[in-house]
Structure formats: structure tokens, C-alpha cells
């Protein structure tokens, strides 16, 4: 029977020859991930059933990244629970202090997730790893607890949707715009319970950083996972970092999709998602005049080198507009170091930006850049829900890093062309 890449990875991990959409399976997990918000509950449940050891000390990964550096006593206590558990279980992968990065940037970068893996994470943006050709999906703390003990999780095999991207990418358009455009097209539940497979000539040439941004936001369309069939770009990325052998899966030519959509990328401009849902997208040229109090460049969606470089390109020799706060958050310590060595920090600092240590921080309204009542932010993050970045009466607009940098300079949502010619 022909299968999609998602179905093949699930079948393999369930020890089955084939699986069909709708089938309930128990599958082995290669990585089970938790953070400072979700892991404390999982650890409590782990202890609650009297479990002694995790199923594999190399495969349980703890990344306290959400409120790092610990913002208050309560969050410090949460991180302590993770630290003690990591020590007691001798976990190989526990990242804290100067080693912590945003989990979904950190795991691919460190080669902890590899192509062909089945990954669950108690964080909705776990779907990011689909960019490597892995099946990765977000679950809750109880699922994480169960997986930490038995190394398995239950799944309903999702139907797959295929998204084909053709044509030439416009200037200043990257993976973030493609995924925002797609979510605008299908809605925030347009892929509910389904796999989103991204393909086509544009994806074939898309950088790994942009692919990670796209798969990262599959959840914002309700998707179970986002996935891209691995190729030479994937190989070049993983070869230097994979800590385990990996396997490339592909979709069969006659695999069954419940829906196929084609997009002509030559018609896609930089996108801006208006409050309070990621589906409220507009072309940048249709935005009008919207003044901004804060700009955030970072997060598991857009805190990687490509994002930081394009922001620097816009900010070089420019100043952040008066009364605007620009916060730049390199997603991992390695990215932080590389951005510093490439001279990007000097450009940011001269422009008047704030450089934050790696953290999820403001993206979820945690800390390091919270909004007051009535304030408005443009962010390269993934969610613009009510109160997401602070006060319930604040607003978040979503866009790519080039638009974000241009917006910081202009003090209103701006096209990168208004600030610099490519």
C-alpha cells in the first residue's frame, strides 16, 4: 500500500508494515522532551505511579527554556525539579545556565533529533522537527510522563494534507511568510488532527532555517505535525551534527492525501498576522499605518542565524525609532556566539536594540519584554492570541524578521524596502 512519509515513520515505530489514517497505534519514541512548564507535572506523575527509571537516559530531554533565566521564585522551583530529576536519572540531555537554548532550535542544532525519528514533546511547537524529515508532535505532561516510563506513546494515524509551493519567491519573503500565508488560507483549524506535508520546487530550495520556521507553525493551523521529505539540504545540515544514525523516508508517488493545495509563491508578499489569531493575515502592502511600541525578533520560530543576519542587514547604520523597544533573542548559545563573532551584535547595539539571552521569555508573556495595557508589538514569534505577550488588552502582530527590523526602525509596521534596498 502506498504511504506518506508520516505514515511510514509511524508504521516503522509501531512495528507494523503499514498504517492507515484513523488507525490507533502504540509507537516507540526516539525522543521525549519536556520544559520548565510541562516537565514538573510529568515528573510528579512519573513518581506518582512509582516508576523508578526512565526508559532510556539518552532519550529523555529536559530544556528549562520558558522562564529562563529564572524570573521568580516559583519558576526557579520548577527548574529545580527538572535539575534534580536529571541528576537522579543521569540524563544525558539536560540544558541549563549557559547551555540552555530555546528547545526547538537547540535539539536540531545539537543533533539530538535526526531524520526518521519519532519525537514527542510536552510543548506544542515540537512539530518543528518535521523540517528534518522526522515525525514530531506536541503532547501534554501526562503523555510525557507515560513515555518517560515505557518509551511509547499512543497515536491516531493522521490523514495527510499536501501543500505544494511553486513559482519564484519574492524579495524579503521567507519560510515564515509561506507558513503565515498557508495558515491565512486554511485557518487556525484548517489542518486539525492532520499531517501537513510541505513540498514543491520552492521547498526544494528552501534553507533549513526557513523549513524549521514553517514546520514550527503547523500547530497554528491545528496540524498534528508538519513535515518535509529530507533531501540534500537536510543531509548537509544533519551530517555534521547527528548524534545517532538517521534514516530518510519519502512519500510514495501514489500516497493518499485528504487535501492537496498549490500556491504560486510569486504572488506571496511578506505577511503580517493581525491580532488575535495567526490566520488573520494580510499582505504587507495592505497593512496601512499601525504604530508599534515593541518589536521582538527571536523565538523557536525565528531566532536562528538566517533570521539574525537579515535583521542585521536592515538595521545596519539605522536607529530604532524613538519610544520603540527592539528586543533581539538569539535562540541558542551557539547562535548567540556566532552572531557575536559575525559582528551582528555591534550593529544591533548601535541601532539601540536590546540583546536578550536565549529564552522563550516574551513570546508567551513570560518575562523579558512584557506589554502594558494598550501596547502593541510586532514579533517574529508564532502566536498573537489575546494577552499572549502581556496585558489582556495588548496586541501582537506576527511577521518575518526583515519586516520586524524595518518596523523597529520606522516605529510602525513597515516593508523592508522602506528601510533598505536588497
Amino acid at each position: 500500500m502506498p504511504m506518506t512519509i508520516t505514515e511510514k515513520i509511524l508504521a516503522k515505530h509501531a512495528g507494523l508494515k503499514e498504517v492507515r489514517p484513523g488507525q490507533l497505534i502504540n509507537a516507540k519514541v526516539d525522543i521525549a522532551l519536556g520544559n520548565d512548564i510541562t516537565a514538573p507535572i510529568a515528573i510528579k506523575e512519573f513518581k506518582g505511579v512509582g516508576a523508578g527509571k526512565v526508559f532510556d537516559k539518552n532519550k529523555v530531554v529536559l530544556v528549562p527554556d520558558h522562564f529562563t533565566p529564572n524570573k521568580d521564585i516559583k519558576s526557579a522551583e520548577q527548574c529545580k525539579i527538572l535539575r534534580n530529576f536529571a541528576k537522579e536519572q543521569k540524563l544525558t540531555h539536560h540544558f541549563e545556565g549557559g547551555e540552555v537554548g530555546i528547545e526547538h532550535a537547540l535539539l536540531p542544532e545539537q543533533g539530538i533529533v535526526v531524520p526518521g525519528d519519532l519525537v514527542i514533546g510536552a510543548d506544542s511547537h515540537t512539530c518543528t522537527y518535521g523540517a528534518l524529515g522526522a515525525f514530531a508532535t506536541g503532547v501534554g505532561s501526562t503523555d510525557l510522563a507515560a513515555a518517560m516510563i515505557i518509551g511509547e506513546a499512543w497515536f491516531k494515524v493522521p490523514e495527510s494534507m499536501k501543500f505544494i509551493y511553486r513559482g519564484k519567491l519574492n524579495k524579503w519573503v521567507d519560510g515564515k511568510d509561506l507558513i503565515l500565508y498557508t495558515i491565512g488560507n486554511i485557518g487556525v483549524d484548517g489542518a486539525l488532527y492532520r499531517a501537513m506535508e510541505f513540498c514543491g520546487p520552492v521547498i526544494d530550495k528552501l534553507s533549513m532555517d526557513s523549513r524549521l520556521s514553517m514546520c514550527n507553525m503547523a500547530i497554528e493551523a491545528g496540524g498534528k505535525n508538519g513535515i518535509i521529505v529530507p533531501d540534500k539540504i537536510t543531509k548537509a545540515y544533519v551530517d555534521k551534527r547527528a548524534e545517532r544514525p538517521y534514516k530518510f523516508y519519502t512519500s510514495d508517488g501514489d500516497a493518499v492525501y485528504c487535501n492537496v493545495r498549490e500556491y504560486d509563491c510569486s504572488k506571496i508578499e511578506p505577511q503580517v498576522a493581525f491580532p488575535h489569531l495567526p490566520e488573520n493575515t494580510k499582505n504587507i502592502t495592505d497593512v496601512g499605518t499601525i504604530t508599534i511600541d515593541q518589536v521582538v525578533i527571536g523565538s523557536c520560530t525565528n531566532g536562528r542565524m538566517e533570521d539574525l543576519r537579515i535583521a542585521a542587514k536592515i538595521l545596519r547604520g539605522k536607529k530604532v525609532a524613538p519610544y520603540v523597544r527592539l528586543i533581539i533573542i538569539p535562540a541558542t548559545p551557539l547562535i548567540y556566539k556566532q552572531a557575536m563573532e559575525e559582528g551582528l551584535f555591534v550593529i544591533y547595539l548601535k541601532a539601540g536594540a536590546i540583546i536578550s539571552p536565549p529564552t522563550c521569555g516574551p513570546c508567551l508573556g513570560g518575562h523579558m519584554g512584557i506589554l502594558a495595557e494598550g501596547e502593541r508589538a510586532l514579533a517574529t514569534t508564532n502566536r498573537n492570541f489575546v494577552g499572549r505577550m502581556g496585558h489582556p488588552k495588548s496586541e501582537v502582530y506576527l511577521a518575518n524578521p526583515a519586516v520586524a527590523a524595518a518596523t523597529a526602525v520606522k516605529g510602525r509596521i513597515a516593508h523592508p524596502e522602506e528601510v533598505v534596498r536588497k
Binding site: L24, I37, G140, S141, I150, G222, L364, G387
Partner: protein
């Protein structure tokens, strides 16, 4: 087993940030989380609702984050069950795993107005709007998930497995 309570109505795409804002996620204590249940959707909700009441919402309830704190805060606030047109998948999964009964029925949601008295039969998934005297059937729960519920949730199931 059946639930009977007053309906509190919410719209479509109620995300987990509205159910339990991230500013309260520095704890996982159910009692603390209950105090802020639905706060960013309706700041007075927790003052108005009574234990046993039912949340009735539009499509895609619980979209966004994977935080189990969302179903935990609803359950700890004393809400007996949630009826929605559809649920976001992680919220759906979390609810079964930690024992918050949820039911999918677009027709029931359309019929129920805020303040209506509603009765839900856990075993059959039958929803009765007592105020309007109308009956609806919710989507049947898949057998594996029924097994999870009858075992007492995912962790009990795991406990049995590791014996």
C-alpha cells in the same frame, strides 16, 4: 454517570492562553490554576461559575499551547465537562489523559444559550438541553480512549502495563 449544570458559553478558537494565561504557569498547583480559569476570555468567570457547571464553546476549543494546566484549571475550578463544536488535538488528548470529560456536538452548541440547564450522559454521550427540552448525540469516543477512561486515565493504564 451524568452531569447536570448551568451552561457558560464561549466563542470559537478559545486558546489555552485564554483558558490559563502563561503568567500563571510558574506553578502547576491545581488550586492556584483554578483561580485564573478562563481569565483572559472572561475575567469574572471564576466568580460567576458554580461547581458542576458546564462550559459550552465553538470550534477548535483549547487551540495553541500543549499546557495541561488548561484542562487542569478547568477541572480544578469544578467544571463538570466541556461541550464544543470541535477541540484542538493536544487539548483533546490531554483531557482524556487527565480525566476531564469532553464532548463534541456542533448541534448541541448551537442550541445551548448561556444560562441553559444542561444534562450530559457520560456513557452514551447524550446531551440534553433541559431548558429547551432538546436532545443531542455527541461524537462517539473511540474504543481505545474509552479503555483509557475505564482504566482511570493514562497513568493508571501505564501502571497496569509496568505492573
Amino acid at each position: 454517570m451524568k452531569f447536570k449544570g448551568k451552561a457558560w458559553k464561549f466563542g470559537a478558537d478559545i486558546d489555552t492562553d485564554q483558558i490559563i494565561p502563561a503568567r500563571y504557569l510558574n506553578t502547576s498547583d491545581p488550586k492556584e490554576l483554578a483561580k485564573h480559569c478562563m481569565e483572559d476570555a472572561d475575567p469574572d468567570f471564576i466568580k460567576k461559575m458554580k461547581p458542576g457547571d458546564i462550559i459550552v464553546a465553538g470550534k477548535n476549543f483549547g487551540c495553541g499551547s500543549s499546557r495541561e494546566h488548561a484542562p487542569i484549571s478547568i477541572k480544578a475550578a469544578g467544571i463538570s465537562c466541556v461541550i464544543a463544536k470541535s477541540f484542538a488535538r493536544i487539548f483533546y488528548r490531554n483531557s482524556f489523559n487527565m480525566g476531564l470529560p469532553i464532548f463534541e456536538s456542533p448541534a448541541a452548541v448551537d442550541s445551548i444559550a448561556e444560562g441553559d440547564e444542561v444534562e450530559v450522559h457520560m456513557d452514551t454521550g447524550r446531551i440534553v438541553n433541559l431548558t429547551k427540552n432538546k436532545t443531542f448525540d455527541s461524537q462517539p469516543i473511540p474504543p481505545f480512549m474509552q479503555e483509557l477512561i475505564s482504566t482511570g486515565g493514562l497513568m493508571e493504564w501505564v501502571k497496569k502495563k509496568i505492573g
